[in-house]
Symmetry: C2
Subunit: 344 residues, 2 copies
DNA sequence: AAATTGGATTATGCCGATATAATGCATAAA
DNA sequence: TTTATGCATTATATCGGCATAATCCAATTT
């Protein structure tokens, strides 16, 4: 036979109508068990696969979701945030478990979003994933809602747009790691990482941090907060600035692992030991966190739960059900960089 | 108006036939410039987007490629090889530059490949990306070729299947970094990384390594090759084994950056300094390679060229043109871990 | 014997675009 | 005036499934 087999070819061989073939292959109880088996058998022999374009066109459903990944414009091509990779993995798995395919698209923040996947019926919905507040955030969300696009976003809940967000509990993570450092005997804290409204994740971590400090009555010894985006370089520079200012902390809480690595690097340059002189903690638990010197104490986001939840919520939206904003708890990974102060 | 607009709606408003709308929107010279502009205008007002399912069905083309990512079964979920991430990024970009969408699917090596994207017409071709020889490699390749699936694979050229491979020049990379170490005055070499047929990339690196050694007449001082898969842990263990065996090298060439980090970790445990006692080099130039202590000398694969070439070759296959196997040159990134031997 | 019921199957329309063939119409050539 | 030539547009068939309504037929009921 020429070309790929169609359901007509199978119908012909099986001596039934094409309709019956379609029904049989979708396991419809409307068709007799025997005929069903016979048809499936023939379909397999011909290596028949339903044409998704035809099927989707008729069903007006693609069983596909599109993942839009927003890159931080401040970093170059090769530097993809390791955290997103982990999310990508878990989202892919959650999709395939739900029998959905996944389209992936890296979005350049500067450009207009390339979010036509649902308009063109290539996907049934979108997952928006990025750090910080992607450019023109509100305008875009409004537009998506106006067009009745189905979507969920990764990030802190936004009271203006309820029911579309899933995010890590960054506040709790920042609180938890700070509390841990306090219990280790640290008292003079600094925070490295941007804490503005355009980096809401980092801001929440910072707020958890200060909350822990106030609870322990340590705010009067707070050394300060130093801006750094999420790269190693930024952490290094921020730390150098911190050391230049004079007042030396005995613990530095960083908004990400990469920043923490930069801070440790800066300490080395300044002849400071970690954790003996200053404890340092990160956030994300990237793959190498446990293998740097010293092994990094950090906060792990539950990317598996995150991916599953995002997909689950999106599928509910697609079925016109509502979901409520979800905060996924983070967990503390204790390693060497936060060892207790020793009296020496 | 209800629902999404179709080309009929536009035809109606523009007072032309639906055929003309279709032509106008695809910029066919068959339709008058004025009418074309008018139709486009109306289409924009109605926020009309062509239905890809209908379009693809008719055209028998999806303008989509599927990326199958094969994970190493020896690592857990969270550990995705950083090199692949970089490739994923460049492939995505190359696709969007060519106006193709990208479906991403993580394949579990143990299972049957889930490679029906072309059979179902969801994609026009496949890109296979994984380290080592994915399980049942030949059987699967045969099957794909039999079904006339369009595909390219990442990896060394295989004489049995010409024209489907694109890979880094691992031999040249291994040779280059070894030559560099020799020029720095190192003479007693060891290699850490698997060098068997089921890890062809690593094997090629090892072969480049030994080639450089023989050229410099240093093979009689070769300490040995020690197996390690691509994780930090594996590198650490292999190095400990190496040190236990007695004969100490003054340079260790590693098959990947993660392995190199493990080796450096092991040296630290043994009280050995890098690069003073032993120089260490990696492979891949992962994001943190420049920020560990000491900064890691490594070989960088040109992922950008790789992604572009893979996509380019696949698109040629889709258009029934042939391509020839391509080796992409790697480049040397010299940092501190390979500093020259000092006389002290 | 005629009418009813229900399970199994078939006939038909449609999803929304694109490509090919056909038509209309103005202008140029015979 | 008639035929021919092009350009612009329209009519129609088609891509390959799925869903609804229609039909067929055997087993019951009346």
């Amino acid at each position: 036979m020429k070309g790929k087999a169609t359901s007509f070819d199978i119908a012909h061989r099986a001596g039934v109508s094409q309709s019956t073939v379609s029904r049989a292959l979708s396991n419809s109880p409307l068709v007799n068990q025997e005929t069903r088996d016979r048809i499936k058998q023939i379909a397999q022999e011909l290596n028949y696969k339903v044409d998704k374009n035809a099927s989707n066109l008729r069903k007006q459903r693609s069983n596909t979701v599109a993942l839009l990944l927003f890159e931080d414009p401040s970093t170059d091509d090769s530097q993809i945030n390791p955290f997103f990779i982990s999310m990508l993995g878990s989202i892919t798995k959650a999709c395939s478990a739900a029998n959905y395919d996944l389209l992936v698209s890296f979005q350049n923040l500067a450009d207009d979003w390339h979010a036509e996947y649902e308009d063109t019926h290539k996907a049934d919905g979108l997952i928006l994933l990025g750090y910080g507040d992607y450019l023109d955030y509100e305008a875009k969300i409004n537009q998506l809602q106006e067009q009745e696009t189905h979507f969920v976003r990764w990030g802190a809940a936004d009271p203006k747009y309820p029911g579309i967000s899933v995010g890590s509990n960054n506040f709790q993570g920042g609180y938890m790691v700070t509390e841990h450092l306090i219990s280790q005997g640290r008292t003079r804290f600094a925070f490295v990482g941007e804490a503005g409204t355009h980096a809401p994740e980092f801001l929440a971590r910072f707020q958890g941090f200060t909350h822990a400090l106030s609870q322990a009555d340590l705010m009067d010894q707070f050394v300060g907060q130093f801006d750094a985006i999420f790269t190693v370089e930024a952490g290094l520079e921020a730390a150098l600035e911190l050391f230049a200012e004079g007042e030396r902390p005995d613990a530095i809480v960083c908004a990400s692992d990469l920043i923490a690595l930069g801070v440790i690097q800066a300490m080395r340059q300044e002849g400071l030991r970690c954790p003996e002189d200053i404890a340092v903690t990160g956030f994300d638990n990237i793959p190498i966190a446990g293998f740097v010197e010293p092994a990094l104490t950090t906060v792990q986001q539950d990317t598996k739960a995150a991916g599953i939840t995002l997909v689950e919520h999106l599928l509910k939206h697609i079925n016109n059900e509502n979901t409520s904003d979800t905060l996924i708890p983070a967990s503390l990974i204790i390693r060497d960089s936060s060892k207790p102060l020793t009296q020496d």
